[in-house]
């Protein structure tokens, strides 16, 4: 994987670069602000970007805005936002243009190197990686369809929102893949999602959470 890192704290920027190189990924550029990120992406067109949300100069949401632009201009580049906070509103904005190729994780999650790298790989491959916290916040949201889900179906949907595949969900919940498929069908039914392509419905189901947050 070819990766660009944008993070204003040098210690984390270097730590991430080392972590990824150790795992055999190529870090094309490690920059400290959103402007540098845009330039590096234009130059390298990486497979994935790891971007802090809050960076100079305004220290508000420049990473998020850069992420949205990068997703629009470089569809082949996945963007993983990496932040101290999970803000539901940020999640919604990130996912407004589609749920593929994006991720949003708390910085703490680098503690689990294997999971962090696999989340980044998922994003690079066009999948989703949402922090369990995002999902946790959204599951507190009331929604008639969502409210009728069984606890098991909620667990499945939570992992789906994190961007896991069926086998990933099965492994996470120690279920058989068949059981996972059954739960997913139940979720689609309760959320009244028309059968189109399975992938599309997955995205719609996840977006259903996120839309209620707007």
């Amino acid at each position: 994987m070819r990766v660009v890192i944008a993070e204003d704290a040098a210690v984390l920027r270097e730590g991430l670069a080392r972590l990824l190189s150790d795992r055999g990924h190529e870090v094309c550029a490690a920059v400290a602000d959103a402007q540098g990120l845009r330039e590096a992406v234009t130059e390298h067109v990486p497979d994935a970007v790891i971007a802090d949300i809050r960076m100079p100069p305004t220290h508000t949401d420049e990473g998020l805005r850069a992420a949205v632009d990068i997703r629009r201009d470089f569809p082949a580049t996945g963007v993983l936002l990496f932040s101290q906070y999970i803000e539901t509103r940020y999640t919604a904005r990130l996912l407004e243009s589609g749920a593929g190729g994006v991720g949003y994780l708390l910085k703490d999650r680098v503690g689990n190197v294997a999971e962090f790298v696999s989340a980044l790989e998922r994003v690079a491959a066009g999948g989703t990686a949402l922090d369990p916290e995002v999902v946790g916040q959204l599951l507190r949201r009331p929604d008639a369809g969502l409210a009728s889900l069984t606890p098991r179906e909620r667990d499945v949907l939570a992992l789906m929102a994190e961007g896991r595949s069926n086998s990933g969900i099965a492994a996470g919940l120690t279920l058989s893949e068949g059981a996972v498929e059954k739960h997913i069908a139940g979720i689609f039914g309760k959320l009244a999602l028309e059968p189109e392509s399975a992938d599309n419905r997955r995205v719609l189901a996840v977006l259903r959470y996120l839309r209620t947050a707007r």
């Binding site: 704290a9 972590l19 803000e87 940020y90 503690g111 190197v113």
Partner: protein
């Protein structure tokens, strides 16, 4: 004896000092501006009173009053300028006038322009002061002229003996201080009186300048109330800015360090070879996660990140975590001041938490809008059981108290059986109430 001499010497030296020239310059200008200012204010104000009192033409009267207030402020600036330029004494200007919005709002704010009214008060007080200042200048001028009488006599009265001449007039600027001089030795009396007159004029000018400066300070300077309003606004804004700084320091400092520790621990965990090591590293990792979660909670209590995007986004994020459905509407034409935005957010957050905890409601609505005349309203309504009381419990009273630090207020409508609406009104700017 020594003391008397010293006082006398000081008194007599006074006319030759720079201070004397400054005082006289101020008195001359002060007399002119004071008289003109008084006439202008009186011309505008007296008809205003008459017209308004007559009941007809109240509108014209109001317009004249407003004009008077405007002129009063302008004149105040002129008087302060005169004092500074001539006498070198500085009176700080009161805070700038903050216009209201809407026709009535503007009029209301204008009529309650405390500093404008004080300036008009000064224009009236200045009348006797201006007359006295004029007196000091005239006394000095007469004195200077009279000192030269012996010389004038020699130059212009040097006629052959026997020529009939009218006597010279001499005055000392006090009532019935007038006499005539018919002989040259008599001119000495004029010289002495002139010198005394100059000393008198200079000292009166000195006293008047000081008095006028004090009057200006109390009527044309910032009023105590507006000064307090200003410093309170600074204190409120400072407090918010300081908290914001703490949050930023946490974000750029401790939180980054801990995230880096998590990263390094993660890499160490990957390389750990035996179970004992792995267990210790797991425990360390769990500790770091807990610390980061704590810091996040603290930081969110100081300044929620989504507030950077505005109240609508911040409240949407807040509502997303509520177990009771929340509808958020934010209808603001412009963003309020940062300190007010933060206050409005935390008011809404606390009211929402109250509603969730006590109301057993099915639906909560947060509405933030702006009244036509200015204040920002934070309204939280729930369809729950009602019975919220400002007097009971400390939550609402505490909120009311916090709102009052910016002249905001809190209103509760909560009949038993619901619905409950709590409204907090805050100014759009911290100092909007000041003028």
């Amino acid at each position: 004896m020594d003391g008397i001499w010293r006082v006398t010497a000081t008194a007599l030296r006074a006319p030759f000092t720079r201070q004397a020239r400054a005082d006289l310059a101020f008195c001359l200008l002060g007399a002119l501006t004071g008289l003109i200012g008084f006439v202008v204010v009186a011309v505008v104000q007296l008809p205003a009173l008459v017209i308004s009192a007559s009941g007809i033409g109240t509108l014209i009267g109001l317009a004249l009053v407003v004009a008077g207030l405007l002129i009063g402020r302008r004149l105040g600036a002129l008087h302060r300028w005169t004092l500074r330029k001539a006498a070198g004494e500085l009176v700080t200007a009161p805070a700038r006038f903050q216009p209201g919005s809407g026709l009535l709002g503007r009029l209301d704010r204008r009529l309650r322009d405390r500093d404008g009214w004080r300036a008009i008060g000064y224009a009236w007080v200045k009348l006797p002061l201006a007359l006295a200042e004029g007196y000091a200048v005239v006394a000095t001028a007469i004195g200077l002229a009279e000192i030269t009488y012996p010389l004038i006599w020699v130059l212009f009265r040097n006629h052959p003996p026997g020529t009939k001449l009218g006597p010279l007039n001499a005055v000392f600027p006090v009532p019935s201080g007038h006499w005539t001089i018919a002989t040259w030795p008599g001119t000495v009396s004029a010289t002495l009186a002139g010198a005394a007159s100059v000393v008198l004029g200079v000292w009166v000018a000195r006293g008047l300048t000081r008095l006028d400066a004090r009057v200006m300070l109390s009527l044309l300077g910032p009023s105590r109330v507006s000064q307090l309003e200003r410093t309170r606004a600074i204190a409120v804004e400072d407090a918010v800015a300081a908290l914001r700084r703490v949050e930023r320091d946490l974000h750029d400092g401790a939180q980054v360090r801990l995230a880096a520790v998590a990263l390094n621990l993660g890499m160490a965990q990957e390389r750990a070879t035996d179970n004992a090591q792995r267990e210790l590293l797991d425990a360390a990792q769990a500790g770091v996660s807990g610390a980061l979660a704590d810091l996040r909670r603290i930081a969110r209590g100081i300044h929620p990140p989504a507030l950077d995007l505005g109240l609508a986004d911040a409240l949407a994020s807040l509502a997303a975590t509520s177990p009771i459905p929340v509808r958020v509407r934010v209808e603001l034409a412009e963003r309020p001041a940062a300190a007010i935005e933060t206050m409005a957010y935390f008011c809404a957050a606390e009211l929402l938490a109250n509603a969730i905890k006590h109301s057993s409601a099915n639906q909560i609505e947060i509405l933030i809008d702006e009244e036509r005349t200015g204040p920002l309203r934070v309204g939280v309504t729930d369809d729950g059981v009602g019975g919220a009381d400002l007097a009971r419990g400390t939550g609402l009273a505490g909120l009311a108290q916090r709102a009052s630090t910016v002249d905001g207020k809190l209103d509760v409508s909560s009949p038993s059986g619901g619905p409950t609406t709590v409204t907090v009104e805050l100014p759009m700017r911290v100092q909007a109430g000041g003028n």
